[in-house]
Symmetry: C2
Subunit: 131 residues, 2 copies
DNA sequence: AATTAAAACAATAATGATTACTGTTATTAT
DNA sequence: ATAATAACAGTAATCATTATTGTTTTAATT
């Protein structure tokens, strides 16, 4: 197996994700780092996001909007997608800890995990509404 | 608003989905109906899958594998994705009914729903294993 | 039953996200 | 320092999906 060498681009991508909680897409990471790396390539961003998520240093979120989002916070937590503005927020809720084992006990195969995300309207988008 | 007219292709697409529980992709629907409609177009399949799911007559499942799956069973139920063979199965579990309102009560916006799917190994893929 | 307007079709082009390839540069071991 | 190779930038290719164009069905009206 190839030895992984250091790269400032990869380091910057990881730092970029850790420094924010808005779950950017590959394109947003690319745009956000262009000022620091003027000839950064989108391919480099994609490759390193894949490397980092494969190593478990970041999370790849597939939220069903057709675009992958990335999260520098690898602690287990829940996500909310606003149907108004599309933003992705973290949720502070517990109560899903036993869900995997509950499901597993009702299934003849082996259930090892689950993906859950919530949707609705975020606080901002709820404000400008009457209904 | 345009009046929806009858089409045998759309009817066949819906029947195809109702007749199975393996949650096919657009491409699988297309291939499955080619024998009955030799000059069926993939565009027609996509358009009608979108029409049917917009009307709520079928479900579009975005399971994170980059391909949309479709389900003729619109009753609320849970899904399981096998990481061994990729197949998508229905799960008979309840206990998630109150999840949306639980989450909503902890959130300052408005949560109206959630998406949950489970993953692991299906019964078949569990068999041929030692670990 | 013929006419007609619009929906649906087939075929295919276009799009957008992601992945793969090619030649160059940077990192690390010798 | 030199050499080996991982990582890079740039770009081409891929894949699922959506949009477009011209033709055919459907269904309402004469």
């Amino acid at each position: 197996m190839a030895v992984q060498k250091y790269s400032r681009q990869r380091e910057a991508i990881k730092e970029f994700l850790i420094g924010r909680t808005d779950h950017p897409t590959a394109d947003m990471v690319y745009l956000g780092l262009l000022s620091k790396f003027p000839n950064l390539s989108l391919g480099t961003v994609y490759r390193n996001l894949t490397l980092l998520s494969d190593k478990g240093e970041i999370l790849r979120l597939r939220l069903g909007d057709g675009v992958d989002h990335f999260d520098g916070n690898v602690m287990p937590h829940l996500h909310f997608i606003c149907q108004g503005c599309g933003r992705v927020m973290d949720l502070e809720i517990d109560g899903l800890e036993g869900l995997t084992s509950l499901a597993d006990s009702h299934f003849s195969g082996k259930i090892t995990g689950h993906v859950t995300y919530f949707y609705g309207k975020c606080p901002d988008c709820t404000k400008g509404e009457m209904s």
